[in-house]
Symmetry: C2
Subunit: 382 residues, 2 copies
């Protein structure tokens, strides 16, 4: 297989894009990435998207976006793995380049969530869980995560306030990211006073409903080395049961562990080599569980990394360095591509006030469902 | 890139599977294919599916099916390109093997359409068309195809009855396929008397709403040559605008032409070398237009191949040899994989009464929307 590099990145700001449809947002992100890469065409387009059908009445967004960006005719398709759709599309793009079948490919994550009403979004997000054995019982996706958080607090004798550091860190970093949805820092008191959504998950534990699109351009290292912004050192997918009750232990994300271990092996590194980690902090509980299963904290102690502020830009392991899902926002099918765009910013020294000094190795982990699909990418600087 | 072969195939009968959910159907097809291939595990699973979210409230079917077939943990994701989702998943599987990243991968197309009510299915299928510029005007997917058929009849001075041969041929072949939804031959009079759906498309011009799952197992030629049932000689994707009114000519399927030409070039063949063609006959008009754009008939004369019965098993170009979308059935996201399963049956001499004698090269073409995504695979016998 050929080594694959990233030669361009682009993004729209994550926000409520009332004035733009899905195709317009994708267009803006792709055009920015093509300009960044200095290219005017590409061989193929892989779109990461989860909810265009449910919320927009529009499947078939691969060909739709390919046409709208002016590249009618090129290969295009959509890839879906719930909230891990963005990273899944990246993986398909990497396959296409690694195989030698294509040279320059575009990977665009896009999601348009705010044109729908709340119930539709809640139902749409629940399609990431097991419809027949979880959702049909009446539980929402945030409800499932609330059960996990409650169980975690009980089993490890953790208080809700201990999670505050995840939200504070995310908003602190988001404040310096012009593409973040929320650009205001919050205090711990803000977290403690936030409205409850699904006890114990409150508004500050939870990522927002939003719109956004991000794009990365891939090419083979041979022939594009001089234009490379980052190398893909590892790409690994692992799965678990959708239904949490089917797992051997609800508080151990086996797919995070497997995906991370495969990625470390591919990149020939250990967790201590990771300079920053774009964690899938859709909920604070997912950040804690991911840190544990990925090997950064012992079981039941992931939350301590927030308490001890090991996760800040100058901490032991900076996470959510551009705001994460909590503050940059979580346009679900686009998130995995935003994470890659942000790791590239860190590795190229373009992360501004949030720059992790000397960052050489960045990891991004995109999760579908409550840990049922986990896709880990490790990037290296040039 | 590595050459890719097919080492196993499996399918469920296409029908109204009231007793089986999506995951059960996928399970049955995958198990049959694994048994056929003589394997008990695989590196990855790529699921072709279009409407699980809209009709079943279930996205994330990659991980769902991986778990349900007993392979929790393996890489899995869903690939979507409207009714071309099955072939799109095959293409991703081929990437994975060709790149050397995976060895044995499973590609499963699955669709569950009959648990939904009619309006939901109509709305779901319309997500293949342009939501903002076609569907929002009130037209259905069959309505769009009816406009194409009417225009074709007008422009080329063709009568509705001239299309009868496509339906008669499909049902004749389906009658000998135990996995077909409809296993009864029809007469031309049946076609002429069929209920009108969207004038001029009647019930016999149109493929049915149905459930089904099919699976193929891929592996690299090197190491699996002895177990190969067929070689993938070509795999090509091309796109067009979703909206028919955006095209230079509504009666020329540019993406069919481009996808076919790329496939012929890859396989180093010409159309005359094709021994059988699994055409995307979702509607009889699509069969006619596809035959023209793929180079088997001059413009405006595709329908003549039905009139002159050149499309039968012993004709110049056998099409829909196991019943096609019309008679085998069109469980939308699964269809592209069924086509491959049927080409493999022909190339291995297992097509029973429908065997195309001496078949060495088979072509399958899976179309999303009214020609907006076209994926062509050419297989060669071993």
């Amino acid at each position: 297989m050929r080594d694959v590099v990233i030669i361009g990145v682009g993004q729209t700001r994550v926000e409520e894009h009332w004035g733009k449809s899905l195709r317009h947002m994708a267009h803006d992100a792709v055009m920015a990435a093509m300009k960044d890469a200095g290219i005017e065409t590409a061989d193929a387009l892989y779109v990461g998207n989860m909810l265009s059908g449910e919320l927009g009445g529009q499947e078939h967004v691969g060909a739709l976006v390919a046409d709208f960006i002016g590249l009618r005719g090129i290969e295009a398709m959509k890839v879906e793995a719930a909230c891990a759709s963005g990273a899944a599309a990246l993986r398909v793009g990497m396959f296409a380049v690694a195989s030698g079948i294509h040279d320059v490919v575009m990977v665009c994550g896009v999601e348009k969530m705010t044109d729908a009403v709340g119930d539709e979004v809640t139902s749409g997000l629940a399609t990431a869980a097991d419809q027949e054995y979880e959702v049909s019982q009446g539980i929402s996706f945030v409800g499932l995560n609330a059960l996990l958080m409650r169980r975690y607090m009980h089993q490890f004798d953790v208080k809700h306030e201990h999670f505050a550091g995840f939200a504070v860190n995310a908003h602190k970093n988001g404040a310096n990211n012009p593409n973040a949805m929320f650009q205001s820092p919050i205090k711990a008191e803000t977290y403690l006073r936030a409205s409850m959504i699904a006890d114990p998950i409150n508004l500050m534990d939870s990522s927002p409903v939003c719109d956004g699109a991000a794009c990365v351009i891939l090419a083979p290292a041979d022939g594009y080395r001089a234009r490379a912004k980052a190398h893909i050192l590892a790409s690994a997918v692992a799965t678990d049961s959708l239904a949490i009750h089917d797992r051997r232990d609800p508080l151990t994300l086996d797919a995070v562990a497997l995906s991370s271990q495969k990625a470390y092996a591919q990149a020939r590194i250990t967790p201590t080599d990771v300079d920053l980690f774009e964690v899938h902090d859709a909920f604070t509980i997912m950040a804690a569980l991911s840190l544990e299963a990925a090997g950064f904290a012992p079981r039941g102690r992931g939350v301590c990394m927030a308490v001890d502020n090991e996760i800040g830009i100058e901490g032991r392991l900076p996470i959510s360095t551009m705001g994460g899902l909590k503050s940059r926002g979580h346009p679900v099918g686009a998130t995995g591509v935003y994470q890659i765009v942000e790791v590239v910013a860190q590795l190229t020294g373009q992360a501004g006030k949030n720059q992790v000094q000397g960052a050489r190795i960045g990891m991004a982990q995109n999760i579908g469902g409550s840990g049922a699909t986990v896709i880990t990418h490790i990037l290296g600087g040039v």
